[in-house]
């Protein structure tokens, strides 16, 4: 069978009723257009999220948070609500207690402290490459006659060259133990260094950092969450806390007498703010995003541990690096089982990707309705065409066309409607992606804290093929019954048809 000749006959048939066939085609066009846009958006968002976080070591890192070691029950049955009251009120109060305990649980879950000893122990767990404490601390800061009561500092892993590319004046740290500091450009701006040339004047100057001294009572010294808990404990829970509470209060109470650590560093550089295109590390940069002062990791650690309370309580957080990203969710779970709060980008990414996939699939189904409607349009058009061309079908058969050939002519006709509609839909969707991308990137950068410059619409090769193929396939399926009807027409009757 010469398919080219069949396609030619089909095309000739299509051109005969341009208006009707264009309308029929528009159904396929709209369906493929919408479907292509939705799927490419899903693809793009998924890829954008992955690419945004898959740089640096994002997928190999697990964030680890320690705690105060308080465990409280969340089982409503275990909560005693005393007093004469109706059951509804008792239930409400029990629920309220549970809800408040859940808040405590957040703190309570941080059952284990993170200190050098536990880091050494945890480092022996399988698939763990390294565990590094995250040093984020506020200090009283003095620089060049300026003073800040509570500047947030962050310890930088010098060996990994983190932030080296963002140094816009001076130089990067010379080593992990160096008595050096890098200041953020925003702090300098706040301090009145408005002109570009001002940065150079800061380089080489001394910055003094001092542990923040407070005059608060031990109870006030406790973090708000702990204060709340202390007020809220039932008699029974107080008993459970008897061993822990004095230790905790003592730790906080020490702050009044604690040794005021004070150090002097040389400012070696100025760090610029993160911009779109910079490598972004969710866990590390999440900790550092508000920092105005950067110290080499070991220098920061030494200063942090110079405060006795810090030695007692340990590091607030640690950064776990696993040997391969595939182990991140497993390590995350192991750490959770050990009572830590753990978070990995890899498992978050999996969740985001599955949510995106679910959204894409469900919206695609909705969009598929457009294609179903277009299918009905094609069926209608093809039936009309078969009826109108009955005599012609008789001629085809008289000159030797087989039933299969007659069917092929009509299937080709419908396939052409689907193919042309599908290609137009794909083409317009591809065009719409250009302004769509610009708009989306602009919106995301306005609303999101993470610098973002990824395309949100991605048109992979498979989608370029699948879009028109789906249009064509739908159209062919829609034409099967009308085409069979055409093939089965009795040639004698057809030749008499008006």
């Amino acid at each position: 069978m010469n398919l080219g000749a069949m396609v030619w006959l089909a095309l000739e048939g299509l051109l005969r009723k341009k208006g009707r066939n264009t309308l029929t085609m528009s159904g396929v066009f709209i369906g493929v257009f919408a479907l292509t846009l939705i799927v490419s958006l899903g693809q793009g968002l998924s890829r954008a999220v992955t690419e945004t976080v898959s740089g640096t070591d994002n997928l190999r890192q697990v964030g680890l948070t320690g705690g105060f070691g308080i465990e409280l029950s969340n089982d409503p049955a275990e909560i005693e609500i005393s007093g004469e009251m109706n059951d509804a009120r008792r239930d409400r109060l029990r629920r309220a207690a549970v809800n408040r305990r859940q808040i405590r649980q957040v703190a309570g879950r941080r059952a284990n402290a993170i200190d050098d000893k536990t880091i050494a122990q945890l480092s022996k767990l399988p698939h763990i490459e390294s565990i590094q404490p995250v040093i984020v601390e506020r200090y009283e800061m003095k620089l060049n006659g300026h003073q800040s009561p509570a500047t947030l500092s962050y310890g930088v892993d010098v060996g990994r060259k983190r932030y080296a590319d963002r140094v816009i004046a001076g130089s990067y740290f010379s080593g992990d133990n160096a008595p050096e500091a890098i200041v953020h450009e925003y702090l300098l701006y706040k301090w009145g260094m408005l002109n570009d040339g001002d940065y150079a004047r800061v380089i080489g100057q001394k910055v003094r950092l001092k542990t923040i001294q407070t005059e608060l009572t031990p109870e006030q010294q406790a973090p708000p969450m702990l204060q709340d808990m202390l007020r809220d404990l039932t008699e029974e829970e107080r008993k459970a806390m008897q061993t822990l509470l004095p230790k905790l209060l003592k730790q906080f109470g020490q702050s009044n007498e604690r040794r005021a650590a004070e150090r002097e560093f040389t400012v070696v550089g100025v760090l610029r703010e993160q911009i779109p295109g910079d490598p972004f590390n969710v866990i590390e940069d999440g900790n550092a995003v508000q920092a105005d002062l950067f110290l080499p990791q070991e220098t920061a650690r030494e200063l942090f541990l110079a405060s006795a309370v810090n030695v007692e309580l340990g590091y607030p957080r640690a950064l776990v690096t696993v040997t391969d990203s595939e182990f991140a969710p497993e390590v995350e779970q192991t750490l959770r089982d050990k009572g830590y709060t753990a978070f990995s980008v890899a498992s978050a990414l999996k969740q985001i990707e599955s949510v995106l996939l679910m959204i894409t699939v469900s919206i695609s189904f909705l969009t598929g309705i457009a294609l179903i409607v277009s299918t009905l349009g094609i069926v209608n058009t093809m039936i009309t065409s078969v009826i109108e061309r009955t005599r012609e079908i008789g001629i085809f058969k008289a000159v030797g066309a087989t039933n299969a050939q007659v069917m092929t002519v009509f299937l080709c006709e419908s396939a052409l409607i689907g193919l042309i509609g599908g290609l137009l839909g794909l083409g317009l969707a591809a065009l719409a992606m250009l302004p769509g991308d610009m708009l989306a990137v602009q919106l995301i950068n306005e609303k999101a804290a993470i610098p973002f410059d990824q395309p949100v619409f991605v048109l992979p090769l498979w989608l370029m093929i699948a879009g028109p193929a789906l249009g064509t396939g739908t159209a062919i399926a829609a034409a099967i019954l009308p085409a069979r009807r055409a093939a089965r027409i009795d040639p004698v009757k057809a030749l008499r048809h008006d």
Binding site: M1, A5, V399, Q405
Partner: protein, 223 residues
Amino acid sequence: MSLVAAKDVWREYARGGIAALAGVSLDVAPGEFVALLGRSGSGKSTLLNLLGGLDRPSRGSILVDGRDLATMNARELSLYRRGVCGFIFQSFNLVPTLPAWENVALPLVFRGEARTARKTKALAMLDKVGLASRVNNRPTQLSGGEQQRVAIARALIGQPRMLLCDEPTGNLDSATSSQIMQLLRDAHSAGAALVMVTHDPELATQYAQRTVRMADGKLQEAA
């Protein structure tokens, strides 16, 4: 040895209803020119359709090369029409949207021939029927006689062994009719058998080697 042999062929349109053909037997020899003569409703067109494989008999057999058309499936009948027959109708039956040459080339489309080969053959055939200057005209731009010449060219392009003509001059004036009959005679001279349905006894006696009269679905006599 006959080209087509119909034996006791019946064609009934409803169970126990009217028999358009009632026990007709007819042999057509290779290269023979047979005229089927009769009034409207006598069954001559029905017999022509059966001989051409456009229809199947209710009873009886139609043998071609030892095979019975009555037992062939739809595909086999299509291949029979394609390989053996060429049809010429009273109402021309051209595809109105196709130019003359593409109408002529239509049988070659279903034979799977390439476009250039189709066009070359169609142009040669149109030249033969005297329409070399009208190859790109659509049927509506042609006179009745010209349309019938296109139809003859279409019937001849597949080099059929048998031409089946159903009142080929029924819609034409006498001068044009003569031209058409001359073309058919040429085709016959070139070797094709020809079965022509007509109600015009003069036409039958003038051109056919044998005239078969039909009435009420039966053969009357052979002349």
